[in-house]
């Protein structure tokens, strides 16, 4: 349940992230690998060292998808359709990991925005990322 104000906050934050999508995305991934080593198992086929091309492009993809979804949150189930299928049938990432990455994204955003990442903004982003993760996992079973 996102209020109008919350959607505005989310859109504002995603607007700030889009130009630096590569940096934000790769930073969030690196934090995830450092803090939750089990998540590295999904990346054995990629070079995930800091600033590697794989890490940067992968991080960028993720952040841009999140920003895109924020443009019309009520349509997430539609806009995420292809990604839902991809995650359910190809990637098959255990959905608990979505929560872990979401947390690391919030930490990255906090580092980036400092005090501007107020508790209310944090709550709004957390709600959005939870909704995003839930929709992403919808085709799993």
């Amino acid at each position: 349940m996102l209020s109008k104000k919350e959607k505005e906050l989310i859109a504002e934050i995603c607007g700030k992230l889009t130009p630096v999508a590569e940096d934000i995305g790769s930073d969030a991934l690196l934090r995830m690998f450092a803090t939750f080593p089990g998540t590295k198992t999904y990346f054995s086929h990629l070079d995930i060292s800091p600033r590697s091309p794989h890490l940067l492009s992968h991080g960028k993809k993720i952040v841009l998808a999140i920003a895109e979804g924020a443009k019309d949150i009520s349509q997430l189930a539609v806009s995420l359709g292809p990604l839902q299928t991809f995650h359910a049938y190809q990637l098959r990432i255990v959905p608990t990991n979505f929560k872990i990455l979401s947390h690391c994204m919030l930490v990255t955003i906090a580092c980036h925005m400092g005090d501007d990442f107020t508790p209310v903004a944090h709550a709004a982003m957390d709600k959005y990322l939870s909704a995003f993760a839930a929709v992403l996992a919808e085709k799993y079973r």
């Binding site: 990255t108 580092c111 925005m113 508790p119 944090h122 709550a123």
Partner: protein, 147 residues
């Protein structure tokens, strides 16, 4: 027993030596009450928690936030025996305060984010890893005496 690398020990001691307890503690607790509003159930006698602004300026929240953060000091001083160090507090939270232990993780996530906002670039992936490992050990110790 938990194994700590030299980097982890040094990082954790360093973070806490620089923290302003009276700022970070209240910030973490009030953030938790805003982001996870159901946690307010444990603070019925704290007065006005109606919105983020009220929570941020509530003196009881501030005082309690500071108390909680100082509660981490005992882990800091006993990093090789965190389990035993918290057994009393664990019993307290279970038997007297009746706090769902899942909430400990929520508070520790908020504390992590407060630190991240404060430390910015210095809160690197490795520093975060060390800090979250420390918090997860404390959280686990606090949940141990629940039956």
């Amino acid at each position: 027993m938990v194994e700590w690398t030299d980097f982890e020990r040094a990082t954790i001691q360093d973070i806490f030596s620089k923290i302003n307890y009276e700022v970070v503690g209240p910030a973490a607790l009030s953030r938790c009450l805003v982001v996870y509003p159901w946690t307010q159930r444990y603070f019925g006698n704290f007065g006005n928690l109606y919105n983020a602004a009220a929570i941020a300026s509530n003196p009881l929240v501030a005082k309690h936030g500071t108390t909680i953060l100082h509660g981490l000091d005992r882990a800091l001083k006993n990093m090789d025996n965190i389990k035993e160090t918290y057994s009393e507090l664990s019993v307290l939270h279970s038997e007297k305060l009746h706090v769902d232990p899942d909430n400990f993780k929520l508070l520790s996530d908020c504390l992590t984010i407060v630190l991240a906002a404060q430390m910015g670039k210095d809160f690197t992936a490795d520093v975060q890893g060390a800090f979250q490992k420390f918090l997860s050990v404390v959280v686990s110790a606090l949940g141990r005496q629940y039956h």
